[in-house]
Symmetry: C2
Subunit: 321 residues, 2 copies
């Protein structure tokens, strides 16, 4: 069973919700969790909730929680790291302590976003990469991140042949300037990429692509915009869901709409966004993460370890170059 | 009274809805409309609806409707042009026939998007510019489009001192690479720009900025994403609005949510997106434009002419350089 190092001090609701999330995992799975942070505080929180001491260990942090948790992975004490302490700190810690896959120049952040399902076998969440580890990317990097994110989607989302789209301002193969035109050409020609062409902003929330690639500036703005709009319509979904009366009066169309909006607004709690490009997996949770988010992220990280996602990425990067 | 040249053949519902929109304007305002297109077809549609022949003229199109309508502005037969035939065609026609303002290198497209109101005097729509006339912009161009869009917002939206934000991946003044860092510095220092700093994706739908500036690639994706998400939640708002029962059972919170979602989903019908940078005003409507959209766009164009928006832009560009 994999061991997941968790930055217990990172996030708006840390350490309480982080520890509770790990405790939940310990009583329901065989995953080993290594909580990294203030030992006495963490143990005091654990003592108040049900947990299985066979599956949880605590390690004191000398520096920041995320850095010490990442170091635990580098030292071989854990197989993957989870943190809700902010993507930037997690990327910096990973860059400092983990080893890049052969041929990868820079790590990238893959964010998950909800979308409609249009093709059989699609996951209800799609990957947007890079969501802000880089600013600008050249065509070679855009191809690399398509290969890495496809490998992740194949193993973690179980999408056999992930559809890859290039986020762009138009569908024409020359749209978006020379770098995107070159990336379009290389993605289309690569034997390991199932390229479905350019993806415009409105198509990001539809089922055209399972993996959407773009430079970090564009991806960070798009991911943040999806998050912001989800929050804006969130009250509506919550209010409607609470009012069971709505269902009883038979507003079928309304109930479908509420379900769709809920899917849009609930995804931030779903789990973590993977940092791709290293020999080991690091998952970043939303800073608002609660116990459920943390427990989901630990499970996703364990799954990525068991399914040997870094091997799949190395393999994808190596072939067809 | 200004004369507005309208491309009667452009858009998914042309020429019927375009002609009906112009007819509506003729019976309710003193604005002169010049409908450009297939004369016999246009007259046949006009004959079926109430209209004031004193305020509508028809001109045959020799080439494309948008190009001939734009030529009418260049020739002095009209003061501004409105088209629903696609932004790209409108920009190409404007570039061919209209004169750029002194010092402006390239025209830009300003799209309107709905957002929350946080400050007194804000319009419920904010401007996002450039929404796709360019791909990349340098710092000088980002400053220019902040000045032009602020001038437009001052005159058309009546926002006395429009708040300007720079769309970026983070709030730090150095976020987004050297071009955005330089743009941040120049926007902050310019005496004619009320700069409120960087704006992240989630803040685009809030009231932080009245004018959000960015390069065309980023703006086109963001505008399209807002449109796509609005459509995704649109069914919900429509269904809820139709079911008056919902109000009767007293779901106050739900009704507030529905209003907010409706504001998000209805904006595409509101009017036109201005092309900025020329001595004359060109407005682009959504290709799905109906009669109401067209009539609103004609009124906005007339208002922009009466309020001398190009003079305000020229003035803004000239000072403080």
């Amino acid at each position: 069973m994999p061991t997941i190092a968790v930055d217990a001090m990172g996030g708006d609701h840390a350490p309480d919700e982080v520890v509770k999330g790990a405790a939940l995992v310990s009583t329901t799975t065989e995953i080993e969790t290594l909580l990294v942070g203030d030992e006495m505080r963490l143990q005091a929180i654990l003592d108040r909730v049900p947990y299985d001491p066979e599956h949880i260990a605590i390690a004191g942090a000398r520096g920041s929680g995320v850095e010490d948790a990442t170091r635990a992975v580098a030292d071989g004490r854990a197989d993957a790291v989870v943190s809700a302490g902010g993507a930037e700190a997690a990327i910096v810690a990973a860059a400092k302590h983990l080893t890049l896959l052969a041929g990868v120049k820079r790590p990238v952040l893959a964010s998950v976003h909800p979308r409609q399902i249009e093709h059989e076998g699609q996951d209800r969440l799609a990957l947007l990469v890079d969501a802000g580890a880089t600013v600008r990317c050249d065509a070679d990097e855009l191809l690399q991140l398509a290969l890495m994110a496809s490998a992740y989607a194949r193993r973690v989302s179980k999408v056999a042949e992930p559809r890859v789209g290039l986020l762009n301002m138009g569908l024409d193969e020359t749209a978006g300037g020379p770098v995107l035109a070159e990336a379009h050409r290389r993605l289309r020609q690569h034997p390991r990429v199932h390229f479905v062409g350019n993806v415009t902003g409105d198509e990001l929330v539809r089922g055209k692509a399972d993996v959407v690639v773009c430079e970090g500036l564009l991806g960070a703005v798009a991911a943040s915009l999806v998050g912001g709009m989800s929050e804006t319509v969130g009250d509506l979904a919550r209010a409607a869901a609470e009012q069971r009366l709505v269902w009883r009066v038979g507003l079928r169309l309304l109930s479908q709409g509420v379900e769709r909006v809920q899917a849009l607004t609930d995804f931030a709690r779903y789990g973590g966004a993977p940092i791709l490009g290293f020999e080991r997996i690091a998952l970043v949770c939303h800073v608002h993460a609660d116990a459920r988010t943390i427990s989901n992220a630990i499970k996703v990280a364990a799954k990525a370890v068991r399914d040997r996602v870094p091997d799949e990425m190395r393999d994808a990067l190596g072939r067809g170059r």
